[in-house]
Amino acid sequence: MPDTTIPNTIPTFVLVGHGMVGQRFLESLAARGLTPAAGRARIVVLCEEPRPAYDRVRLTSYFAGRTPEELSLVEPEFMAQHGIELYVGDPAESVDRTARTVTARSGAVFPYDTLVLATGSYPFVPPVPGKDSRGCFVYRTIEDLLAIEEYAKGAETGAVVGGGLLGLEAAGALKGLGLRTHVVEFAPRLMPVQVDEGGGAALLRTIEGMGLAVHTGVGTQEVTAGADGAVNGMALSDGSSLATDLVVFSAGVRPRDQLARDCGLAVGERGGIVVDEECRTSDPAVFAIGECALASDGRVYGLVAPGYEMAETVAEVLGGGRAGFTGADMSTKLKLLGVDVASFGDAHGSADGALDVVYSDSRSGVYKKLVIGADGTLLGGVLVGDADDYGTLRPMTGSVLPVSPEQLVLPTGAGGPVTLGPSALPDDAVICSCHNVTKGAICEHTTLPEVKKCTRAGTGCGSCVKVIGQLLPPSQDTGLCGCFVHSRSELYEIVRTLGITSFTALLDSHGREEARGGEGCEVCKPTVGSVIASLAPTVGASGYVLDGEQASLQDTNDHFLANLQRNGSYSVVPRIPGGEITPEKLIVIGEVARDFGLYTKITGGQRIDLFGARVEQLPLIWTRLVDAGFESGHAYGKSLRTVKSCVGQTWCRYGVQDSVRMAIDLELRYRGLRSPHKLKSAVSGCARECAEARGKDFGIIATAGGWNLYVGGNGGATPRHADLLAQDLSDAELVRLIDRFLMFYIRTADRLERTSAWLERIDGGLEHVRDVVVHDSLGLCDELERLMADHVAGYRDEWAETIDDPERLRRFVSFVNAPDAPDPSVKFVPERDQIKPDLELLAGPVLAVRTLEGTPS
């Protein structure tokens, strides 16, 4: 069979393996003219599979209608054009390195001058009982895929063992075949090699959202088969079992180094043919490239890009040039089941002193982590769900980022020093991650409504609206909304000085000309409602937020004195001042939750949230709670939420003051206070700060000499540590300063402006606020204190007032024409022994549209 007419003066290259890397090697030789056609070499290729090289990376696209022919990587004329001898379906069986010959399965013997092994890898099948049952497959070749496709015709359920890259590909294939698909991954997360825990969680959520059942942290104990020898299930390491008609093993790959072992070439302890930088094995006449090679950096590369680099290296070396493969970047970006996944550089932060900057939005399945070195250098990262920044971030690896790393992962971008605001972001930075809108796209517009309409940015979760505002040219019009030219603080002054007690009166007297006599809008109504409520005792308005016209101004949460959740149900949060609660009251909350079938969760503010109440249940729930001595927690309002505390001096050996008592006093003093945004507080009993007071709008930390007051702290998307306003205060001094601080904030802040943003915005910042509230530089303090005294004196529990008043209870009905009929769209399904919203019920018409699109007309 060897062609003896080739003169001895030209070398014979034998390539064992015709996969993606093998084909790239041939192309590299051709590019250098090292071909039989050019009279420079004889080239023999032994290929095990029945077809020439194809795109294994895109194997799953077969199910999207791509034929095996379309997957081929070899141009039809390539072999003939270059005079390459390709033997398909005839793998190499043995190598005689002394004689320098390769024997193929057909019995043909090929002498070589240079042998190149590109045997790739084989799927690892864990040694579990039953692994060879009928219906067990691996997922590596087109033949595997055709066999799975055939077998799946008689199957309903499939399970993939392995939740890595290939496992998810295989799961996508099974799903594409119409099987109910399970993924079983031994590691605690999906894609454990590429992504970290957070990335795995984002991926998990998205993939489960596609209808795949994912089981992580469990191993496969056994594959069970029926009497007919066909797979019928799997036993898992957690003792559970899974019924399945088909199993695909995709638990990793191993280098195919048997041929090399048999002929005595050096292989690594854990497999892989040992090669040097030129990809030369322990025999100088033999090279190994791709997934079968253990590279000089001690790694086996399972990615195609490093394999291609090795192929180029060997071709260059064979052509007499100098080249070396010393290791490759393991960076990858791919779309798995439609989800972008990318990792680059030191993705796991293994370098000394490396720190993570992480953004995680499980709602939209986005997870971004940047690994930053001690000197600020970008070392690597993981992007899941949104990998668009990969193209800009990967090239920046190894350099110090031009902007703060938080801004590159945060869609809200508002974090970090002011000098690194959104203007410092590159044009391709994604500002709105819900709709994937970049800064460049936003900056093409000049107003927020225009941005929303043209790019949809800001119309998803809305968290980016503030940044969008900062990117747009400053508007000449600083009015609150389309109805008022005044800002919130100006409206506050108008209401206060003129004693205006109704929204319509304010709109008709102070609104924009075109808005007078109209309805107002969703921006100004709650804002004015809040201003009037804050000033109610002072201007003589009703302090009850559901009285008269006030009722129509409130957002739905205030309107129903509860928090609207995504399926139209509400959550209920009774006030637990300072986080202190008696066993009796805990039991009542438990009983109420049990009796009304509510989902319960402990909040971050040391209280208990009860979810899943229907509108008409709210008064019944609150009757029970009020009877037991609870009152509204105002979780629904732009008002004081909680004052957290640690146990303090009473119990804690470190405590220096009674932080619980102070927290209770403050919470009871400021409860119900309407403000431009929610207010949070905490009191820590010592400098150890267990109550996290510096993350609050006003935080108090005990000292040996009294209390330190910190203001302007925030958690959430834009964390900020509170600044020290005053030190070593007595109880009375503390309360007086907080009174003044809160009232000054309420008076001067913009709508929905937290104290942290307010403190940074107002002229003079913290110093100015200290001048006003500590040193009374504006002579306002008496008035501020009086306003707060009015509030404290006028406080009434909204829920106690509501359940005592039939007129006020009238709004708590599901339907005006069927007040007792439960809303049929508010339904729940079980999860972890509690309930969760049945969202499929709500998807109705949306699903119907999808079905229509998917049906051939």
Binding site: C521, A551, A818
Partner: protein, 115 residues
């Protein structure tokens, strides 16, 4: 979609089989909505503005699938009344059902009579 309300006191909403009597007008408060259960199991959101004009659109927020539009805030822009969804704040024109923030989205509008 609208009817004058002179001396009227019963609100009716049009549906597939005719006019559904919903409630007395006095049960509505200006600037707020109520939910209506329709005979086919669907839901309408009924609103009365400052001038006493009553309008109805579907109660289903198409962006979230939740039946909550009746709990949104009423407003007007350029003289046109709208409701803002209480979930993600998209605004819907009460007269046409068209979303003011995304013209490709609209909700059904129901004719209303006050008699």
């Amino acid at each position: 979609m609208t009817t004058e309300t002179l001396n009227a006191n019963v609100v009716r909403v049009a549906h597939a089989d005719g006019w559904l009597t919903v409630c007395d007008l006095e049960l509505l408060s200006p600037g707020r909505g109520v939910a209506v259960l329709l005979p086919d199991g669907g839901q309408a959101a009924l609103f009365m503005d400052r001038a006493g004009v009553v309008r109805a659109i579907s109660n289903r927020d198409p962006f979230t699938g939740a039946y909550v539009l009746s709990r949104g805030l009423l407003g007007s822009a350029g003289g046109r009344p709208f409701v803002a969804s209480p979930l993600l704040k998209q605004r819907f024109d009460l007269a046409t059902g068209v979303c003011l923030d995304d013209e490709e989205v609209a909700v059904p509008v129901y004719a209303v009579r006050v008699e």
